[in-house]
Subunit: 232 residues, 2 copies
């Protein structure tokens, strides 16, 4: 009996002991002027749940977090950022030493081309705002990766698996987690989620609706199995 | 001694007993697509502090609140809205019966002309976003008002009193509260504020840095005195 208990706790715990895991979470804010900004509906809950799970599994966790209303997690190195550019820098500065990088943040793809320090005065009639692309973090680390296992997220409203597969391949990821954000019951802001996972090796998993904590457990099962398979 | 205590509590309490006060608070969110939106840095703290103070003063309070991360206040009729258009409707539907209307919300002046239900696919290179003006709540109620005492807020980064006076007159307000948002120590997101108050009668007040609760007390002192003066 005692042997069985020990075996169980051994097998349960700490498969990521000695591993470094970097997770990004939340939205970014892109300023138009001193008052106005662009952002998105990400709450950061999925990323924070993943960070907490990685810590439970024994990893040395770095969490790069956009502006969210969530409590910091004790024992996790949290780097708070605001813009896509700041998130890019925080990820790149910490990338080389990581074993697993999970990019669950909803980083702005576009930012205003001109940003005013003052408050823009409103005028009568319409206004045209010029936007430019932000630096693509996932593409950059997909090109740069050596030993790192890199996971991306895709939030899609239609043809979700099609776009997921395309992103997995284009960004040179090891795995991608696809969210159906057309379904209002789950995803952004919600405590629950339902996702698909596609791996570079061609495996596909479906994880039905459950808490973001439970989703995180399943995701790490998949990633760890997939990584172990790599070394065989 | 007993008489003195009674006098004090009489003078402290309930000058707004039987009065209806509507307060708007927080930012609005204007969607670009299923994921992205435009908003601003308003936390709603000033408006919620005003609503709480109005309740203490005996008023029947309606709070029209944009998306904020603040607890609802017990005993206050709170109407939650998301967009500028929803805030416009909630204010207009409740306007006629009010005695005091304080528009502390930071309502978006512009919204995307086209809003997509699906998630817009990103492309290489820049993007132009067409924005159009939202309906001007303050201007509408300034024109519509009969007996109501209407207070606006102005968040400015430069020439703050100049723009404040201009807005007071253009929007036909009874008073305007001017915030210097160029000063990072105060205002948006902060628990403290420092404001100027300009009245239609030409009075100017400066309230130095203190908590938003304390600012609210001072503001109601000014508004109530100003309203009483009107009936002389």
């Amino acid at each position: 009996n005692i042997i069985r208990v020990i075996e169980e706790s051994e097998s349960q715990v700490q498969p990521l002991k000695g591993k470094k895991v970097l997770i990004t979470a939340g939205p970014t804010k892109e300023s138009v002027d001193a008052v106005r900004y662009f952002t998105n509906h990400s709450s950061g809950k999925m990323g924070y749940a993943l960070a907490e799970e990685a810590k439970k599994l024994g990893a040395d966790v770095t969490l790069v977090s956009g502006p969210v209303h969530l409590k910091a997690i004790a024992g996790i190195n949290t780097i708070k950022v605001s813009t896509a550019q700041e998130m890019y820098q925080a990820v790149l500065e910490n990338f080389d030493t990581q074993d697993i990088v999970i990019k669950s943040a909803a980083v702005a793809d576009y930012k205003p081309k001109y940003q005013m320090d003052q408050k823009m005065k409103k005028k009568e009639g319409p206004l045209t705002l010029e936007l430019e692309r932000t630096q693509d973090i996932l593409k950059t680390i997909g090109l740069k990766k050596t030993h790192q296992y890199v996971v991306g997220f895709a939030a899609e409203t239609d043809n979700i698996l099609h776009y997921g597969r395309e992103k997995l391949s284009k960004k040179n990821l090891d795995a991608i987690v696809v969210n159906d954000i057309g379904n209002k019951e789950i995803g952004f802001q919600s405590d629950q989620n339902e996702v698909y996972v596609l791996t570079q090796k061609g495996e596909e998993f479906s994880i039905s609706t459950r808490s973001k904590q439970e989703i995180s457990k399943k995701l790490f099962d998949i990633f760890i199995n997939d990584m172990m398979g790599e070394s065989e």
